[in-house]
């Protein structure tokens, strides 16, 4: 009986280590990456009958933590300020941030809080793709969304120092949101804005303390 249990334990441990997907890099254990520099960006893409609109902000802040060898442990939060979103037309930026639309005064922040990570696939030793489920908060409403994410880990080097000290984590994630789910009226400067908006995040974080 003891022998059977021991074999079972070994099999479970082996299976767990085999399926724990993570980075194969120099670092190990729990790592926290902070997103702080002004090159980080979040964008939204929308269409109208007249033209496509790309909104962009470089005011992305937050952090993520995870065990390097097991990305299922990924957790953290990213947020952007509504007042920093630009669309290329000042008047339209004003409308976007006004009470009739995103209401930057009452809801100054848009955020994404990670809940779980699934479908983790190893693309390279330092790169994985995954489905990241999280709570997306916009205009005072919070809904669960699933983002397609690519995470790339770079060990600290001369080249990475040009961006930030420490190891770097690049995160590219995309997901769609339905404006009506968040109580946002889909009219912007008289144009009918598409009901579905594509949100993209391109951020680089550092684990330097």
């Amino acid at each position: 009986m003891k022998k059977t249990l021991s074999i079972l334990a070994v099999i479970i441990l082996f299976t767990a280590s085999t399926f724990a997907q993570g980075f194969k890099v120099k670092a190990s254990g729990e790592q926290t990456f902070k997103f702080a520099d002004n090159k980080n960006q979040a964008t939204f893409f929308s269409t109208t009958p007249f033209e496509d609109i790309t909104g962009l902000t470089n005011d992305v802040k937050g952090s993520v933590s995870f065990n390097v060898s097991d990305l299922k442990t990924l957790n953290g939060k990213l947020s952007v300020s509504v007042s920093s979103i630009k669309t290329g037309i000042e008047m339209r930026d004003g409308h976007l941030q006004s009470a009739g639309w995103l209401n930057a005064e009452s809801y100054p922040e848009i955020s994404f809080e990670i809940k779980k990570t699934s479908n983790i696939k190893q693309v390279a030793d330092n790169k994985v793709t995954a489905k990241v489920t999280g709570n997306f908060s916009l205009h005072g409403s919070t809904k669960e969304v699933v983002a397609d994410a690519t995470l790339t880990y770079l060990d600290a080097s001369e080249q990475t120092q040009m961006r930030a000290p420490g190891d770097l984590l690049g995160v590219q994630a995309k997901f769609n949101v339905k404006l009506s789910d968040y109580g946002v009226d889909n009219k912007l400067v008289g144009q009918k804005v598409s009901e579905n908006i594509e949100v993209s995040v391109n951020v680089v974080g550092s684990n330097a303390k």
Binding site: I89, T152, Q172
Partner: protein
């Protein structure tokens, strides 16, 4: 049509054509923009699997301003052509 009217018509057509050609070469945008999106992705960004785009200050003429200007030129030309019309002398 007298000489003055022909000159006004010619100048109006040239102004409208110039504005519309400029608008077309600027990308034929519907709305005038004060900033444009520029790709500033570096090699390090590519290694990290991220893109880096930035809005930079640049005036891009849209059809809103170009059309408004063209309409104003057309109206002004019409008024001037009307004012420069030949006045008939009354025959007694």
């Amino acid at each position: 049509m007298n000489k003055n009217q022909k000159n006004v018509l010619l100048i109006g057509i040239i102004l409208i054509a110039a504005v519309l050609i400029y608008w077309y070469t600027q990308g034929a945008e519907i709305f005038t923009k004060s900033q444009v999106l520029v790709d500033k992705t570096t090699d390090l960004d590519r290694m990290l699997g991220v893109e880096n785009k930035e809005y930079v200050d640049k005036f891009v003429l849209g059809l809103d301003y170009a059309g408004g200007f063209s309409a104003a030129v057309a109206v002004l030309s019409g008024i001037l052509i009307y004012l420069f019309r030949n006045k008939r002398k009354k025959i007694r």
